[in-house]
């Protein structure tokens, strides 16, 4: 095959193969890691990059990490220059050199063909601990990066196939839980799988053919994205959104100020004018904000476009340093990934009128709670980043109800709630309840996704809980669109053995939680789309029969009157109510919420 001739079948074979290699790497992590945040919640990404660090393909279970690997790969390539050899394994987490979150530790393995560096295999996953002042990494009390984490600018842990034991030991001497060491080994295993896959491909098709076809793949992907952008009318679109409480000053609010400029086949996200960086950890590194933009943008275009370098080419992001969306060194930034929700809100709001059939109403904002302590049965310390309890509902869209129990938009439904039995095997917690929450979803012609309620007894000792998130202050409910109602609010409560009940703030460390305390969390529902009075009566009735909407809410929000004794519709009363509302609408009521 000549080098400049493109074999179109081969391009798609390569693209699909890259995809399947990264999927296989993902499976490796899923199957071999120890921490539930990796193997159950799937908070990781696996990817392949070309010699220069350009993304060939990746499998993202959790989108927010995903679009923050290529930048690091390019940085590592520059950083080590000629000092990259077969058998090297490089670690990285530093948010001031293109990382997105301190806990997300990436492993890079260069792939060689003969003497030539031809590609990189990388795995990046959220680690159960990364040193710093508190276990688990989320530290609302942090004021600088060093109180959050051990910084790993790129460092080689293997050089030419040989373990650098001193370096390795130094890293893990600064991390609390031994499982992190095992999970990094699993990431290295994932990279080996990726290396094997890509080596086999290059040996088979030869390097020149490989490279020309990869370039073609990038170009054709870019073209697909540009075609999508062309569909959006040219113009400047403005969206705003508020992040509540910086963890330091009560009632503080940070504003996201976004202008999106669409010009032909280019799109520009400009965050100029957003609030300055905060003294606490409610700050994002550049990479986290960029990832948030990308993953939201992907929700507005054809979902089948391959994920490689070509996808990012038409997209520009202006995000001045010093804002809380691009904090300056040495700010604390662990909360950065969690600003994805508000960033997505701003994007959906900006595009609401231009792309009404594509945008979604607000998603439930993320509220997490990490528990660390001592497991008396296993006689060792434990950490649980509680992915079971935090998955609320998504926003409704044109033609579709929101997705129930989907969780934070950063993860877009890729994060799994832990299996209940595995949860109890892993942690000293006794689960009491995990069910949909009635009336949690914002009403609408299409309603928001339902939230969930979780309750369990803490049987660990010396337990500390760390709340980090949003969505508990009034005004932080998921927004409704085109007459749809807002979602509900998140809440975390601890009921102590002495009967005392206390609600957690959205960013707070709670120490000395006694054994036997009951943990309770509400992860709320998403926003509705369109007037609830237009929702078919039968759909409302079904939700009531199934205990997802109460009879009262059916009447008050949807104008549907249900007779409780027979669970049937009171047609006359319903018609009366709904007609009345229509009159108000004509007079100019029923505005977007």
């Amino acid at each position: 095959m000549s080098n400049n001739r493109i074999d179109y079948i081969l391009v798609s074979v390569l693209q699909r193969r890259f995809r399947s290699i990264t999927e296989e790497m993902g499976l490796t992590l899923l199957r071999t890691t120890r921490s539930p945040i990796l193997n159950e919640a799937r908070d990781f990404v696996t990817g392949l990059y070309d010699a220069k660090g350009r993304m060939l393909e990746q499998t993202e279970y959790i989108p927010v990490l995903a679009f923050a690997v290529s930048g690091v790969c390019k940085y590592i390539f520059e950083y080590f220059g000629d000092d990259i050899h077969p058998g090297d394994v490089i670690l990285h987490n530093d948010v001031f050199t293109h990382g997105n979150q301190n806990n997300d530790v990436a492993v890079f393995k260069p792939v060689f063909h003969g003497d030539a560096l031809v590609a990189w295999a990388a795995c990046k996953g959220h680690q159960a601990d990364i040193g710093g002042a508190v276990a688990g990494g989320y530290n609302p009390e942090a004021r600088e990066v060093w109180q959050e984490a051990l910084r790993i600018p790129p460092v080689k842990v293997y050089e030419k196939g040989k373990l650098r034991k001193d370096v390795w030991d130094m890293i893990f001497a600064n991390i609390r839980f031994p499982i992190v060491e095992e999970d990094i080994k699993a990431e290295i295993g994932g990279c080996v799988v990726g290396e094997r896959g890509i080596t086999a491909l290059i040996e088979r098709y030869n390097l020149d053919v490989f490279n020309t076809h990869v370039e073609y793949l990038f170009d054709s992907t870019e073209k697909m994205v540009r075609n999508e952008i062309r569909e959006i009318p040219d113009g400047t679109y403005h969206g705003e959104s508020i992040v509540f409480y910086d963890g330091v000053k009560e009632d503080s609010q940070m504003k996201i100020n976004l202008n999106i400029i669409v010009d032909g086949t280019d799109i520009n996200f400009d965050f100029t004018g957003s609030s300055p960086q905060t003294p606490g950890f409610v700050n994002a590194p550049y990479a986290a904000t960029a990832s948030a933009v990308l993953l939201t943008f992907l929700m507005l275009i054809n979902p089948d476009i391959p994920h490689n370098e070509g996808i990012v080419r038409p997209i520009k992001i202006i995000n001045p340093q010093g804002s809380f969306l691009n904090a300056k060194f040495p700010a604390a930034t662990t909360f950065g990934n969690s600003i994805t929700g508000p960033t997505s809100d701003a994007i959906f709001k900006a595009f609401a009128n231009a792309l009404p059939k594509m945008v979604s109403a607000g998603w439930n904002r993320f509220l997490g709670f990490t528990l660390t302590g001592f497991d008396p049965k296993k006689d060792k310390p434990y950490v649980d980043i509680l992915f079971l309890s935090l998955k609320g509902g998504s926003g409704a869209t044109y033609l579709c109800d929101g997705y129930d129990h989907i969780g934070l938009i950063n993860c877009a439904g890729g994060i799994l709630a832990q299996d209940y039995e595995m949860f109890e095997i892993h942690d000293p917690h006794f689960l009491i309840k995990h069910e949909y929450m009635i009336d949690s979803a914002g009403a609408g012609k299409w309603r928001g996704g339902l939230g969930v309620e979780t309750e369990f007894r803490i049987d660990g000792k010396n337990v500390t809980g760390i709340a980090f998130g949003d969505g508990i202050e009034k005004g932080a409910e998921a927004f409704g669109l085109f007459g749809g109602k807002r979602g509900t609010l998140n809440r975390i409560e601890l009921q102590y053995p002495d009967g005392r009940i206390s609600a957690a703030k959205s960013k707070e460390i709670i120490r000395d939680i006694p054994r036997g305390t009951i943990f309770y969390q509400r992860a709320a529902g998403g926003g509705g789309y369109g007037s609830p009075y237009e929702r078919p009566v039968q759909k409302v009735l079904q939700d009531v029969i199934n205990g997802m909407v109460s009879i009262e809410k059916a009447r008050d929000d949807y104008g549907v009157v249900i007779k409780p004794e027979t669970m049937t519709i009171d047609k006359m009363a319903t018609e009366r109510l709904r007609k009345g509302q229509a009159n108000i609408d004509e007079k100019g009521g029923g505005k977007a919420d």
């Binding site: 074979v13 193969r17 120890r34 993202e60 993953l295 979902p303 994060i415 299996d419 039995e421």
Partner: protein, 691 residues
């Protein structure tokens, strides 16, 4: 004259393969009767009897084995027509079935909708009870809750009940109590108890599998009761076996208890048939595809081993029983052609099925189908469909395609029919991409084994789409799965959870041997019940293991001696090796401890298989089998050409032809485009080769 019969009920046709004691094969095919599939089965049996000049009773008396694959359960789940089912579950956890752990399969698609729950929330009822992680009962079962639920189930007239409580794999007492109460008050209900069906950790998977079993149970039971009754009324005294999704067969009384094992079993015999037919070829890696009237099934077979999974899904609901990893799309002869909002021609997934069927069947079909296009394009002979038993109405087909496709798209009739043919071929090629390219295999390196009545008309064009150089079309391709069933062994899978650190110090070897023996005995007992002599039993042992603290297990095959001799070293080594092979590393050197999670046994009852008969050599010249010629559409020329027609019923070993030709058999038509040649092998199969 003892006969064996394989019967495969499809969406459109019911296929039969009749084998006599000398290995002579006869194919039968009748229209399926979806309202009661046993009617179609009997129509076929009647036809066979007639051909042997026997009454149905005289004929059935001579039949020693009937192997039957049924789609009644799968269709019920896919079309949401399962039996009304109630779920009893531990209070506080009634939504696990619907939540599916909160996954959205398509990350960036905000319009993605989850499947409707098999059991709606108001029939998922909580029972106060609790077993903890160690198997201790920490809350006794509150019988009032169970009685209340039973009352509600009776009021709602549910036909099946599923019981799944937390940690019941470790202690089944509470489930058993609830089961007893249900049996007492609802004696006729179909009941599945999770600790009996799948005593295996992971609450969601166990719940979903248990519910699936219940909701199709009454359907399968009713069907099998009806069928066995009819068979015994006709004096059938042989063995009836039912195809399962694990690629093995089982007896009806066992199948109806584990009804879920027949879910997705329809195409499970295809790889078995593929292995049998390719055993005469050098190919070890192949893709079997089966294009029937309604669906197109594809599975990859590497090194003569079909892909097996315990992570199956039916309509996105977890099914944790071991099964063949088959990929299915809605594409078949009955697939309906239509035009979407964007003005693009689409084929399927809706199918006209057997009733009303394609327009050309003249059974009331109004929508243009793939078969109608195949007829208009000249691939099908209107006077020789099913050997002439079904007359095809070509005028009606033309009219409908003109009206519904050509006119709105402003195309000629030929262009419209050719478009339908092309679109469905691309759809099927994509399905093959899913199981090859998507998993990192290059389809060009595989043999395509093509089956199904409609398959051989499309096989070459699908292969061309993927540049697949070789296609094998078995002579019995039209009833491929029916043939596969006769090659299947009896197969039963068992699992027990024993969660322990695997070492001489921590593992209670007596408990392990006990568990193994328990399920092995269960396997032997069932096979004995199925009248398989002990020397035909084969027991396969495997363990699900993982490194301490990992979440997911690796299934490793072991020998029984490994356990009996408590050979922890060999077992550990097999585990390290498998872990390295699958995941790129092992922790052998580090001495990381290994956990045992599940013990598994597969009990296989080896059946007697029909032998393939070698034909005598005819030589390459096939001129004497030329039947004539007709106009048929050649995609490469985008026009009709006069194409030679050969009589496939007479062609034999050694015959060689170059495309374009059409080969007609009673139940199959093979279209060989100019890009391929065709050779008949010693067993009557056709091998197409890309020029």
């Amino acid at each position: 004259m003892p006969y064996k019969i394989g019967i495969d009920v499809g969406g459109t046709f019911t296929d039969f393969l009749l084998v006599d004691e000398n290995g002579n094969l006869e194919i039968y095919k009748v229209l399926s009767t979806p309202e009661d599939p046993s009617i179609g089965v009997f129509n076929g049996l009647l036809e066979m009897a007639k051909n042997q000049v026997l009454s149905i009773s005289e004929f059935l008396k001579e039949v020693e084995r009937v192997v039957h694959g049924t789609t009644v359960t799968t269709n019920a789940v896919l079309t949401n027509t399962v039996s009304k089912t109630g779920l009893l579950t531990t209070a506080g956890f009634r939504d696990t079935l619907q939540m599916r752990r909160g996954i959205r399969e398509e990350l960036y698609n905000n319009k993605y909708q989850p499947p409707p729950p098999i059991v709606p929330r108001h029939l998922r009822l909580p029972v106060t009870e609790r077993v903890d992680v160690e198997g201790n009962i920490v809350k006794n079962i509150k019988s009032g809750d169970v009685w209340a639920a039973i009352n509600k189930f009776n009021r709602e007239d549910v036909k099946a009940v599923a019981i799944c409580f937390m940690h019941s794999y470790a202690n089944k007492t509470n489930e058993s109590i609830a089961a007893k109460m249900v049996k007492k008050k609802m004696p006729d209900v179909y009941l599945t108890v999770s600790s009996e069906l799948l005593p295996q950790i992971r609450f969601y998977e166990r719940t979903s599998t248990t519910v699936l079993n219940s909701c199709v149970g009454p359907i399968l039971k009713g069907y099998l009761r009806n069928l066995t009754k009819k068979l015994s009324e006709s004096l059938f005294d042989g063995v009836l076996l039912i195809m399962q999704s694990n690629g093995g067969v089982t007896s009806p009384h066992i199948a109806q208890e584990v009804a879920a094992s027949t879910l997705l079993s329809g195409p499970a015999a295809a790889p078995v048939a593929g292995i049998a037919y390719t055993s005469t070829q050098e190919y070890k890696n192949f893709i079997t595809v089966d294009m029937g009237g309604t669906s197109f099934d594809a599975i990859l077979v590497e090194n003569r081993k079909p892909f097996v999974t315990t992570e199956g899904k039916v309509n996105l609901n977890a099914l944790a029983l071991p099964m063949m990893a088959i990929h299915t799309i809605g594409a078949g002869g009955g697939s309906i052609g239509w035009i979407n909002e964007g003005g693009l021609l689409q084929m399927g997934p809706k199918s006209a099925g057997a009733s009303p069927g394609p327009v050309c069947y003249r059974k009331g079909g109004k929508e243009p189908t793939c078969t109608d296009a195949d007829l208009v394009l000249g691939y099908l002979n209107p006077d020789y469909f099913a050997g002439g038993k079904i007359k095809l109405d070509i005028e009606k087909a033309k009219e409908t395609i003109k009206e519904k496709i050509a006119k709105p798209l402003n195309l000629s009739l030929m262009e419209a029919a050719a478009g339908m043919y092309h679109v469905i071929n691309v759809n099927m090629a994509s399905a093959i991409r899913e199981i090859t390219i998507k998993r990192g295999y290059d389809p060009r390196e595989f043999l395509l084994v093509c089956a199904g009545g409609a398959g051989p008309i499309h096989a070459a064009m699908i292969a061309l789409e993927l540049e697949i150089p070789k296609i094998l079309i078995p002579k019995e391709s039209s009833i491929f799965c029916a043939a596969g069933m006769l090659f299947s062994d009896l197969k039963h899978d068992y699992v027990r959870t024993y969660h322990t650190i695997f070492s001489k110090d921590n593992t209670d070897i007596n408990r392990l041997i006990g568990l193994l023996k328990e399920i092995e005995d269960e396997g032997h007992a069932i096979l004995k019940k199925e009248k398989i002599p002990e020397d035909k039993h084969r027991i396969e042992y495997s363990l699900d293991m993982r490194y301490l603290g990992q979440y997911h297990e690796v299934n490793i095959k072991i020998k029984k001696e490994h356990i009996l001799e408590f050979d922890t070293e060999s077992i550990s080594n097999i585990f390290h090796y498998e872990h390295d092979r699958l995941y790129g590393y092992s922790l052998r050197k580090e001495g990381t401890r290994i956990e045992l999670v599940n013990v598994r046994v597969t009990a296989v009852g080896i059946t007697e298989k029909p032998g393939l008969q070698e034909e005598s050599y005819q030589g390459p010249d096939a001129t004497r089998h030329l039947k004539g010629s007709r106009l048929a559409y050649l995609p490469s020329e985008e026009d009709y050409r006069e194409v030679d027609i050969y009589d496939g019923m007479k062609m034999g070993y050694g015959n060689h032809l170059a495309g374009p030709v059409i080969i007609e058999q009673v139940n199959t038509t093979i279209f060989v485009p100019p890009e391929y040649t065709v050779d008949c092998d010693a067993y009557g199969s056709y091998m197409l080769s890309l020029i």
